[in-house]
Structures are given as C-alpha cells and as structure tokens.
Amino acid sequence: MSDLIYQLKDLKVSFPDLSQKPLLGAAPRTQVLKGLTFDVAKGDVLGIVGGSGSGKSTLGRTMIRLLEPDSGSVLFEGSEIAHMNEDDLRPLRKKFQMIFQDPMSSLNPRRQVGGIIAGPMRLQGFDNLSARVNEALEMVGLPKTFTNRYPHELSGGQRQRVGIARAIALRPDFILADEIVSGLDVSSQAQVLNLLEQLVRDLGLTLAFVSHDLSVIRRLCSRILVLHQGEIVENALTANLFSNPQADYTRTLLDAIPLPDPNQVWE
C-alpha cells in the first residue's frame, strides 16, 4: 500500500471539560473526534470542512501529532505514530509540516524572517541554510530582502507566505494547512491559494487543507472530508461533492454559502 501516505483507523480524541470540573478529581472529558477512519493517498489535496466544534482542527493536529489521540491508529508512511513519543517523532517531523491559521501568532515576534525559515532546517540538520532560505522565499514569491524583516513589519498575506516558506523549506511529504486564508482579504486569499496549488504541483506535496469555507476548498482540493460534531458525514471526490452532495449536513452547508449574486435563491 505504498500509495497511501496516511491511514487512520477509529481515531478518538477527547479533551477535559474544565467548566464541568468538580472540586476534587478529574474533569469529565468531551469527545471531540468520535472514531474517524479514512486514508489519504500520496499527492492528494484533502479538504477537511466543518463548522466550529466539528473537530476539524483537532483532526489536523492529531495527524501531525501536535495532539495525542485517546485511541485508534495513525499510520504515516506505514509507521504507527499515534502514541509515538517526542524523541522518536523528531526525525519524522521534517516529513510532515504545518501552516498555521494566524500567521501573526505562529511567527515568533522576536525573530527575523530569515531566522524563522531557517530554524526548523537547523534543527533537522540541513546545511546551506541561507541558500535554502532564499530558495524558499523565492518559491513563495517574496524578495530576498525580507530575510531581515520582523513579522510585524509584514502584511497579512506576506506573513502567510513566510509561514508557507517555513513549511516547504524542509521539503516535507505532507503539509497541514489549518484555516490559512480565513484571516486574509479576498485578493491575498486568491494569491495564497494559487501559490499553494502551484507548490503542490511543483513539489509533489500531499496537502490537508482545513477550512470552514467550502468555496475556497473547491478551488484546491481533490477530495473532501465533511466533519460534523466529531464524525465524518461525507468523504467524497470534490466534483461529486459539489454536484451531488450525499449528506444532509453537506447540503445545509452548501445552501448557506452566500454567493456574490443577488439572483441566488437563498431560503
């Protein structure tokens, strides 16, 4: 099964609900992911869609092991990483990277762009750092002079490009993009999506794109996973999902999107 990059089986994740915590003893746990099973093929661009509280970000973060699942299995390129400890994960980490929603909070405000992009490569023992930093900047369409800028000196779209540059500089096999365009204006959003599409093609990446917005997902993704309250309600090829949505929830989601068209029937 070499063409599958991820195989997830009966994945369950829960968080302690601190608002319900009794005075003594542990807080009760809320099930966030209720047993998810799906595969991701190499080269796929997987869209993960859902409303707030659907567990879409939790799923993404569990896939790259920023979170540890309660139970279930996560096979990444054939190896079980669900409960792997941090030391064993470290060499794998360069293979799965993440681009974050809020580029302001995901870029250390005290570092310059060059250092931000070089940081992960230094940790993973790459050489020729400055050449690689320049190459990554070029790939995301930023000038080399940006290496000694601070994050707060950049615009939202530029910051998000730095986040992308940091992730692709490691030449990972898999990238998780968590709501990366939701804070951007439509024009920067279009630029970032186009850039991502081109990078996926040029670098042969596998991408998981977490979003609440089905209209940006159509552009980029080959397959879409619709989550609702911690469960997969639909897992379909993009074209099928839009032309013939199976789940009621998918239809509700699609119907709720306001199209830029005053003639749309929106009842």
Partner: protein
C-alpha cells in the same frame, strides 16, 4: 503638522536616561566611595555633632551635607551606604530572578505536575507575611550581608515565578510554539529559544523592580537594626537614627531618605523603560 503623540513617544527615552543616569551616578559613587568620601564614615567627632548642610547657618564646609548626632560625616556615610544598597540590589535581585523565573518558566511551559507543585508552593509561600518572615529568617541566620541576601531571595522569588508562569502560559499557547514543535524542537529547546526571549522583557522589568525592592528591604532591616552591625553605614540605619533627631537635625533623616526614594524610583522606571526598549513590536 505637529503630532502630539510624537512627544509622548519621546518619554520612554527620557525616563531611561534619567533613571539610568541616577543609577550610574550611584554605581560610580559606590565604587569610588573611598576616594570620594571627605571623611572616614565611622569617625566620630562629638565636637562637630549635628552640623547642618553647607547652605545653612553654622555649617562647616568640610562637612558638605552636615553630620549626625555622633559627628559622623553624612556624605561619607551615604556614599558607603550606597555600596551596601547596590550590592544587595544586584546580588539579591539577580538571585531572586534566577530562582523565581526558572521555576515560573518550568511551571508555565511544562505545566503538569511540575506546575502543580510549584504553584502550590507559591500559594503557601505567599501566605506568610513577608516582613515578619524576613525578620524570622535573619533571627535564625544571624545578621550580615549574606543573611539579608538569602532572606530577600527566599521571600521574593514568588513574585517572579507567578508573573513568569502566567506569561509563559500565554506564550505557550501561541502557534509559533506549536510550529517549533512541528519543526522537531525539544521541549527544553522551545522553552529556552522560543518562550524565554518573549518573556525576557517582563523578566527584565521585574528584575529592576526587584532590585528596588531589595534596596527597600535592606533599609527596613537596617531600620529595625537587623541588618549589619549598627556602626556600618547603611541608608536604613541612617534613617532610623535620623528619625530620633528629626526636630534637631532634619538633614540626618532627609538625605538618606531622598537617596533611597530616588534609587527605588529609578530602578522601577528603568525596568519599564527597558521593557519598552526591548519590545520589537512596541518600538
């Protein structure tokens, strides 16, 4: 067009210069006290007791700021007093900071049982009244410079650990920490390379504030005669002595009090100024 906000933005610089200037002066005075002092600070001359400062009637120009009830030169005593005050400030402040900030960083970033233990300890610690605690400690340890420093560290580390813990917790929730983890950085590496630099401005501000507090604590302990030997020139000791003769010789009280006030104020203002200076976003 004149921008009024531009004028306000100048203030941090001014604040930094004024407070830094006074502290630098004090450091120089402390280092060169033996050369600068016109008299031996311990030398008594009962014939020259309670001489007023130079501008008052009946002053002796040899005693610029006058003398105390035992005829000791006030200026010389204040210069030597600055030595002790600054030693305590630097050593006690730094040690307190190291202990408190380390524990705070561990509690705030590593969380879990480490946090549980440290936070409970802080809670318990803070339930002791600090001045009584200090006096008790000195009573056990005996008087002396080392005892004062130990007492300050033991009492005040909680101030650092509480603030640093809260700050480390909020920084720890930021995505740049998650992204360092994605990059494969170790826990310790993240704490030192990602969190610490972002907490540093707060630590620096607290450190200078703590130095001011150390000066005050030392003065309080001297005031209640628990510092070093009573003859040794300390600002607190001078204030205690000046208090008894406030109606006959106000200057014995006022000069050391003023020096103490300026020093503590300068430390806290220096901290605020440095915090702004270090912050790339505010700058």
């Amino acid at each position: 067009m004149r921008d009024a906000r531009g004028d306000i933005r100048q203030l941090p610089g001014l604040r930094l210069w004024l407070s830094g200037g006074w502290l630098l002066l004090l450091v120089l005075a402390a280092i060169f006290a033996p050369m600068l002092s016109p008299h031996d600070p311990l030398e008594q001359d009962l014939f020259a007791a309670r001489l007023p400062p130079f501008w008052e009637q009946g002053a002796d120009p040899a005693y610029l700021l006058g003398t105390d009830s035992l005829g000791r030169d006030l200026l010389s005593r204040m210069l030597y007093g600055a030595r002790l005050a600054l030693t305590v400030a630097l050593v006690a402040g730094t040690l307190t900071c190291l202990v408190g900030a380390t524990l705070g960083l561990i509690a705030g970033y590593y969380r879990g049982w480490a946090d549980l233990v440290i936070s409970r300890l802080v809670d318990i610690w803070m339930a002791f009244p600090p001045v009584l605690f200090a006096i008790l400690l000195i009573a056990v340890l005996g008087t002396g410079l080392t005892s004062i420093i130990i007492a300050i560290v033991v009492i005040d580390w909680t101030r650092f650990s509480r603030v640093v813990r809260a700050e480390a917790m909020s920084q720890g929730a930021m995505d740049y920490v998650a992204s360092a983890q994605v990059a494969g950085r170790s826990r310790l590496g993240i704490a030192l390379a990602e969190i610490l630099p972002n907490v540093l401005p707060t630590i620096v501000a607290l450190l200078t504030l703590e130095m001011g507090i150390a000066v005050i604590v030392e003065a309080i302990l001297s005031f209640v005669n628990l510092s070093i030997s009573t003859d040794e020139p300390t600002w607190g000791g001078m204030i205690a002595e000046g208090r008894t003769s406030i109606y006959q010789a106000w200057w014995v009280l006022v000069f050391p009090l003023f020096a103490l006030f300026l020093t503590v104020l300068s430390f806290s203002q220096l901290g605020e100024g440095l915090k702004e200076y270090f912050d790339p976003v505010l700058r």
